[in-house]
């Protein structure tokens, strides 16, 4: 299962970003490989408008099942909810957030 993480950095010990759609990195964590399997610099970060929609669209079209990040804005939250993607809000380190998620979801 692929988890989308809104990262300030791209490593396991990086912080989760303070902003959802305007985060620095889209980090992918694979629950089978138990590691970060990829990252992408957020090219939409400095967009003038509709960034929340853009990033939520990116998430639903790139096969993610779960999102970990700060509270998303209303537009992102709405799209992710309609697409059936669960959001786990966390403000700590990526590693701790992933462990907390795995513990909660077996």
């Amino acid at each position: 299962m692929k988890i989308f993480i809104a990262g300030k950095g791209k490593e396991l010990n990086s912080q989760i970003d303070d902003r959802f759609a305007r985060c620095n990195y889209f980090v992918t964590y694979d629950t089978e490989k138990k590691d970060i399997t990829g990252f992408e610099e957020n090219q939409y970060k400095d967009g003038t408008g509709g960034v929340g929609v853009k990033v939520a669209n990116y998430i639903i079209n790139n096969g993610y099942s779960v999102v970990i990040g700060p509270e998303p804005g209303p537009n992102s939250a709405n799209i992710l909810k309609e697409a059936g993607i669960k959001i786990y809000v966390n403000h700590g380190h990526i590693q701790d957030a992933v462990e907390a998620f795995l513990k909660e979801n077996g």
Binding site: G47, G49, G50, V51, V53, K54, A56, N57, I60, N61, N75, N78, I79, E82, A83, G84
Partner: protein
């Protein structure tokens, strides 16, 4: 000739200047384009003869016709559309839409997207003692006034003297108004805030190469801030209106500056602008 009354900072006196000028000269047209809070009507008290609900087209999506190809979503530069193939859902974010029509243009399916009119404001046309009056009232909750401003322009007659009450600030709405004007009067007050915003507004007006002059409102003899600013920037102060309690009291009752003295001064100002003396 179109004369725009702009300012930068809000509350410097655009409306009192523009209504007073309009009521001082003969056969003028007064256009209130400060559509987020139009208040020229309070001073002019026009008889409204026509009200037009102004609409822009926005798309309506039909999930039963959609093939979820996401072409519209990918083409929308304003990110106003979310197509969710896995849930067969379409989310449209109206407040992000700019009515460009590209979604309908790229859609390969007929009738999946139909454009519907959406009202964004009201344009009113009226008259008072030979003075033609037009104003725009943006609906509450509409994020951009620019479409209504561009729509209003169709109703502005090509008369000899058109006085346009511009929105405050120094962003898109001001640019939309100033770009079609022949002359810009910038109303300021002699305070650091007034001059800071005037400085920005001047940059826009100069960038658009519009002839312009400054009016200092709430002017005091012993306050040289605006005069020094104008000298430093090489700008011309066409008029100073004193900081006078009587003017403010009248203003609060909806009475503009219409003493004989001011009527003569405003007439002269418009004459000078038309003769290219400013």
């Amino acid at each position: 000739m179109k004369i725009a009354i702009a300012s930068g900072k809000g509350g410097t006196g655009k409306t009192i200047v523009s209504t007073s000028i309009s009521m001082s000269v003969n056969n003028a047209v007064y256009v209130d384009m400060d559509v987020e809070e139009p208040n020229g009507a309070i001073f002019i008290k026009p008889e409204i003869s026509r009200e037009i609900r102004y609409t822009v087209p926005i798309p309506e999506f039909y999930e039963d016709k959609c093939i979820y190809c996401r072409k519209c979503e990918e083409s929308c530069v304003y990110n106003a559309i979310s197509i969710i193939p896995q849930a067969k859902k379409i989310l449209f974010f109206e407040e992000l839409c700019h009515s460009c029509g590209v979604c309908k243009y790229v859609c390969p399916v007929e009738q999946a997207i139909i454009e519907k009119p959406k009202a964004i404001g009201t344009i009113r046309i009226g008259e008072k003692n030979g003075l033609k009056f037009i104003d725009g009232i943006l609906d509450v909750g509409i994020p951009s006034s620019v479409p209504l401003l561009s729509g209003m322009k169709k109703y502005i007659p090509n008369d000899e003297i058109v006085i346009i009450d511009s929105p405050p600030g120094a962003s898109c709405p001001v640019v939309e108004v100033v770009k079609d004007s022949d002359f810009v009067l910038l109303v300021t007050e002699p305070t650091p805030f007034g001059l800071n915003d005037l400085d920005i507004a001047l940059d826009i007006v100069k960038d658009m190469e519009k002839p312009h002059a400054i009016i200092v409102n709430k002017s005091e003899n012993n306050n040289n801030l605006a005069r020094e600013f104008a000298e430093k920037r090489g700008e011309y102060i066409a008029m100073e209106i004193p900081f006078d309690r009587k003017i403010a009291e009248n203003y609060s009752k909806g009475i503009p500056l219409l003493t004989e003295e001011y009527k003569i001064r405003f007439k002269k100002l418009v004459e000078d602008i038309r003769e290219g003396k400013l």
